[in-house]
Amino acid sequence: MLLINESFFFALFEYSFLRYALLTGVIMGFVTPIIGSFVVIRRLSFIADTLSHFSLAGLSIGLFLINIMGFTFISDPLYLAMIFSVIGALFIEILRGYYQNYKEISMPIVMSLGTALSALFISLSGGFNSSIYNYLFGSILTVGNEYLIVIAITTAIVLGLLFIFYKEMVIISFDETYAKLLGIKIARFQFVSTIVLAVIVSLSIATVGVLLVSSLMIIPVAAAMKVGKSFKNTIIIAIMFSETSIIGGLWLSYELDIASGATIVLINLLILVLVGLFRRFYVRKRLKQTQLDIQRK
């Protein structure tokens, strides 16, 4: 940690907005790869993208209500993003029922509705402006005390649920048929996990923005699963990657005065590339050896 420049370090003591940003980042950096792992195993990466686009509709409607209609009871459009994300999740679930054999059809339908509504309300609110830019690409430096508390509480609830239903979640994700045999209520679990995903997606918007939410969830997991030895080990590695990218990204973006969301995601991608190279030159050899050892057992 020699790299930490004093100015960022001291600025943390000085400016509360930086502390809020860092705390928000650390919390999201912890929870997103955990949720992201289940998304990856169940091959649902596209859902995160769909929901974040649907949240954008909530954000633009929020901006419209606040700026044009003058509604003051909505303090922050991010709350509407959360509500819309959940509504989007419900739409996806309903449409999946209609297209039993083409379940992924529900994604482009919901995504186009979200994108169309966003475009409509952005134009009604006077077109593209800096708040929209923040929602698209992240605005972690604008996170306030109140929203930080919302993030902390929601994350605690999500982690609590996961802790209680860990076994069920893992077995459903890896082997749905067997989970059905064990009498686990798959439909109910799927419903709850889609809602949880919706909430986490909408919370991540503040960190990296609508367009980069799925990267924050998926890329650390994609890198970790190439080197992880077990399920838990993979998730821990994913969390480490994710925290590195967020803390590193915040620091770098502060020092260089560049966009934080983009920096975070680029660091994530850099980690992915490094892991790929590491695997190519080191792990493969080790893996071959392990496989040989196992076959001998």
Binding site: S37, V40, I41, R42, R43, Y166, K167, E168, V170, I171, S173, F174, D175, E176, T177, Y178, K180, L181, L182, G183, M225, G228, K229, S230, F231, K232, N233, T234, L287, T290, Q291, I294, Q295, K297
Partner: protein, 217 residues
């Protein structure tokens, strides 16, 4: 567990696969299910497992209709194919067994089981690194984790080497002696060293069911 199947007819779409099948197994019976490829063996057990949806009152498990059956933890199952399993994400043998366990199976019992099935050394391996036969043994172990009262095995030893096949039959014969009902789908009933009590032979959707005398008694 008692299994009673009465006048079961089942098909996919418009094609009937099982026609008017009836048979009864008591606790401790050991059934071999035989028949050509496509004769409906896997289809039959999927009906018993509640994976295939059937009409009420056709299959009773300990006098409870499968349609309403809730205690599936009492049933161990090794499927013929593992297509439904998501392999690519890392998970170890131990971890997968851990999340499949819903009874107070102790750590010692687990180790004993892993040893019997011949995967004790593979406990902490990532399942992605296992061979087909090793994976098959993992799933066999898993089917025994919840102290099943009915064990349903769909060609469980395909791809398993001879040494471990023998160990496997020894294990299930012992379990059967303890009173567990077993249904085993197999293509070589004579080669397997299982102590069958009954044979169900499927042919063109129809079944013939008969009792056989036990080889070991």
């Amino acid at each position: 567990m008692r299994v009673s199947v009465s006048n079961l007819t089942f098909g996919y779409d418009y094609r009937t696969v099982l026609k008017d099948i009836s048979f009864v197994l008591k606790s401790g019976d050991f059934l071999a299910v035989i028949g050509n490829n496509g004769s409906g063996k896997s289809t039959l057990i999927k009906c018993i497992l509640g994976i295939n949806k059937i009409t009420p009152n056709r299959i009773l498990l300990d006098d409870v209709d499968v349609v309403d059956y809730k205690n599936y933890k009492n049933i161990g199952y090794v499927p013929q194919k593992f297509d439904d399993f998501n392999y690519e994400f890392p998970i170890t043998v131990n971890e997968i067994l851990q999340v499949s366990k819903y009874t107070d199976f102790t750590e010692d019992q687990k180790l004993e089981l892993l040893d019997k099935v011949g995967i004790l050394e593979l406990q902490n391996e990532n399942i992605n690194n296992l061979s087909g036969g090793q994976l098959q043994r993992v799933f066999i172990a898993r089917s025994l984790m919840n102290n099943p009262k009915l064990l349903i095995l769909d060609e469980p030893t395909v791809g398993v080497d001879r040494e471990n096949v023998e160990g496997f039959y020894k294990t299930i014969n012992e379990l059967n002696k303890e009173g567990i009902t077993i249904m085993l789908i197999t293509h070589n009933i004579h080669e397997s060293k299982a102590n069958f009590t009954h044979i169900l032979s499927l042919h063109n959707g129809e079944a013939s069911f008969r009792e056989i005398s036990r080889g070991d008694e």
